[in-house]
Amino acid sequence: MIKTFLFAAFPYIAIVLAVLGGLYRYFSHRFTYSSISSQLLENRWLFWGSVPWHYGIILILLAHLGTGLFPFFAASVLGNPVTLVVFELIGMALALFTIFGLIVLIVRRLPLDSLARSVTSKMDWILLLFLLTQVTTGFAVALFGRWGSLWYLRTAAPWFWSLFEFQPEISSVASLPGWVQFHMIFGWAVILLFPFTRLVHIFTVPITYLWRPYQVVIWNRAPSRRQLLAATQTQTAGSDPPGDDPPQEDDRRHFLSLFGIVFGAFGVLLVAVPSAWFLIGGLRKPPRVWRSVGNVDSFKIGTTVKVAFLDPSPLPWAGVTARTAAWLRRESADRFIAFSVDCTHLGCPVRWLPEADLFMCPCHGGVYYGSGKVASGPPPRPLVTYPVRIRNGAVEILTSPLPITS
């Protein structure tokens, strides 16, 4: 049950909250919708952290996404052992690269007197910790669970697709080792962090940097580190004018309302998602089975008679409704046709008139010939037929969904 929740409900909850929270933040705090760069405060460490991190993580994420979206294409490419080894090696190298970058990014914010530390919020620490967890577990999966890029296609990819199609199917991932599952679920947790952290800059990434002309930033008069530190500290903690709406209070109000909305939505979704899922889950297709409707000899050649058979795995309380009727026509010694009794117009049960060799619908007067073809009236299509076969001297009909004309 917990797995069902984690793999089938939690991804939706994470996505919905990320989108809702992201929209709320975009419209209420648009200036915070960025990476909130600290480059102007600390640049040397940042270079060695940010560059490896971003190059690594972007490529790795693209590989996750591309192979997840096109598993058959990926399987055809990675089927070759050399390509596979090269692909995996590049992946592991990029993972190491990413971990290195991330550690640098963490270390540069650690020193108590550093400028970067002074602009680091609690949420930043949580985010860094989450990302570190995710990339380390990812590296561990790649290292100890070889060859991940192959089994990924048979486990995670079908799961992703089932999520896309709103038919969550967790069987392909349910039996994976716990630490692999952890990596999968934790990824959604990172997505959940989107609206609360500077991760939102993924959507505002200034991609034009790649082709716009250089901008050179020059310090007019390089301030000392202490001066800068003092300046940021007075900005963040110092000024508290005696007005009735101090800026901190404003921020706090905004944060609390964001928190209230997003956390409340979380609670609502926690109930709504399983309920809606249960409602739609009733659509699980039961297996189709062959049902015997009588001995071959009991049907005369050239006649059409009504037969009845049981639905596949009927519910115990379905009673008579678990049955389905069909018109069975014996064409020749070994040829049978089974017609659905449902008129293709609006589904009313058609009646067989043996003398007239016609099916007639009592609702709107649709008429079909004995062959199932439309003779007259409103039906748009011939009568639907069920697959029939003969096994051990018995006629068998394959149970089928109610034919719906669309």
């Binding site: 739609i280 009733g282 659509l283 297709k285 039961p286 009504k306 009845a308 639905d311 009927p314 519910l315 115990p316 309380w317 379905a318 009673g319 008579v320 409704t321 678990a322 049955r323 389905t324 009727a325 009794v341 449902d342 117009h345 609006l346 589904g347 009313c348 049960p349 058609v350 009646r351 067989w352 008139l353 003398e355 007239a356 060799d357 016609l358 007639m360 009592p362 609702c363 709107h364 007067g365 008429v367 010939y369 003779a375 007259s376 009236g377 409103p378 748009p380 089928s400 969904p401 109610l402 719906i404 004309t405 669309s406």
Partner: protein, 470 residues
């Protein structure tokens, strides 16, 4: 007495009951004089809804929500004398609710009470109309006999005509691939919990809006609604001649509500509940699914429209109707309210009523349905008991001709009446028609032996005003 009053004051002080409901009960309403009686249909609809809640709860306490057992539980309820009456009240209450909400909608439309500032009242009312019809439809289905069963199939087929999601939606409605154990529970949950809950919510809004914006004053020719000045003018009107709703206006509503209740109960006792048909066994093919009276006109409409328009009517028809209802208050938020100055409104209502009435009577007759229960022609109609004419009359019946063609009052209405076919057509013309068929007639090529054909033609030729002398 004094003690009771003290208890009430104590209770009211702690709960604020009169503060909460006082404004609703005593809010001032404009004087309406005799047209006040036009205003009772909304509260009468509410009365019918409350009847449904009470009797529905009673019925649910005995109804078994199981595709296999619902039918016998309904038999049990009906066999109990009070249970039968409760079922009758629930049925006629539903009928009353559909009828009254229709009249209420027409009244509000004719008096243009949807104009500013009562736009939201109109929109919530439009949704309430849709919810009422959906509840009526699902309720008909819960009478889980043969017709209830096939209603579920027809519902799924209609949902199937919606583009793209039709197939999925159709099977969603059935809660599976076929009608089975899960189907009835789904409709039960919709009819008993989901739809009434939505009705309660919107009803709360609908009534609250009456308090907030005031009930519309009776329209007067030449008095135009101007959103800029309306509220001010309305408040001045209330200050001048407004009187508290209770009891000056409310007694009309009480009278109308009690009349509805009495009418429904009397019908339930005298006419009784709608009869249960055959059990919901899909293998009993002898079924003629028909909707209850309030959807009879829609059933007829779907039968007579051209074939190619069908999927558009099923899918777009309701969409366009409710689209018009929704656009109306935005398209005409101001101006004349009196129906006397809005002839097109009167025309639209007459058109709708005549159309529904026409299709409704047509649906009762259902001339497009073959009469599969028609008996063979009696000897006095055939005119003889032996010879080709008599044998031909037998062929006429056995080959299904009589299901669609009427002869001397026997048979169906789908095809032309053949009582005097011999006067109109020669044997050769009849033969051509029998072999070629038509849009609504199957071809009988290969289905008749030469003897059968000759006898049939002999029978048809004998259908004349004046019988030939032979």
């Amino acid at each position: 007495m004094k003690l009771l009053k003290r208890i009430w004051l104590w209770f009211d002080d702690l709960t604020g009951t009169s503060e909460l409901f006082g404004p609703a009960l005593f809010h001032p309403v404009p004087r309406a004089r005799r047209s006040r009686w036009f205003y009772v249909f909304g509260s009468a609809t509410l009365t019918a809804f409350l009847i449904q809640i009470i009797t529905g709860t009673a019925l649910a306490s005995a109804y078994v929500t199981s595709s296999g057992e619902a039918y016998s539980s309904l038999q049990f309820i009906t066999a109990n004398s009070i249970g039968g009456v409760i079922r009758g009240i629930h049925y006629f209450g539903a009928s009353a609710m559909v009828l009254l909400i229709g009249i209420h909608t027409i009244r509000v439309y004719l008096m243009a009470a949807y104009k500013y500032p009562r736009i939201m009242s109109w929109l919530s009312g439009s949704i309430l109309l849709a919810l009422t019809l959906l509840t009526a439809f699902t309720g008909q289905l819960l009478r889980w006999d043969q017709i209830g069963f096939w209603t579920a199939v027809v519902a799924a087929e209609q949902a199937g005509r919606i583009p793209f999601i039709g197939d999925w939606l159709g099977h969603f409605v059935l809660a599976g691939d076929t009608v089975g154990g899960a189907t009835l529970s789904r409709f039960f949950a919709a009819h008993v919990f989901f739809l009434p809950a939505c009705i309660f919510l919107l009803l709360g809004l609908h009534l609250y809006l009456v308090i907030r914006n005031g009930i519309s004053e009776p329209p007067q020719s030449g008095r135009r609604v101007n959103p800029k000045t309306y509220r001010h003018w309305y408040h001045a009107l209330l200050a001048r001649e407004g009187r508290p709703f209770w009891p000056y206006a409310a007694w009309h509503d009480v009278v109308a509500g009690v009349l509805v209740i009495v009418g429904v109960v009397v019908l339930a006792i005298t006419v009784g509940p709608p009869a249960l048909g055959k059990p919901p066994d899909p293998t009993i093919i002898e079924a003629s699914p028909r909707p209850d009276w309030y959807f009879m006109w829609y059933f007829a409409l779907l039968s007579v429209i051209p074939k190619w328009t069908e999927r558009w009517v099923i899918f777009l028809g309701p969409l366009i109707f409710w689209g018009i209802l929704f656009i109306l208050p935005f398209a005409a938020p101001r101006g004349e309210r009196s129906p006397l100055r809005r002839p097109w409104a009167i025309m639209a209502v007459i058109f709708a009523v005549v159309m529904i009435g026409h299709f409704w009577t047509l649906g009762l007759v259902a001339p497009w349905s073959p009469r599969l229960a028609t008996p063979p022609l009696p000897a006095e109609v055939v005119g003889t008991t032996s010879g080709p004419v008599a044998i031909g009359a037998g062929v006429f019946y056995e080959k299904g001709c009589q299901f669609c063609h009427m002869v001397s009052g026997y048979g169906g209405l789908r095809g032309p009446d053949l009582t005097y076919a011999g006067d109109r057509m020669t044997a050769a013309q009849m033969k051509t028609r029998i072999f070629s068929g038509a849009a609504n007639m199957p071809s009988y090529t290969g289905n008749l032996t030469p003897d059968e054909l000759n006898d049939l033609l002999a029978f048809l030729e004998s259908r004349r005003h004046r019988r030939p002398l032979i």
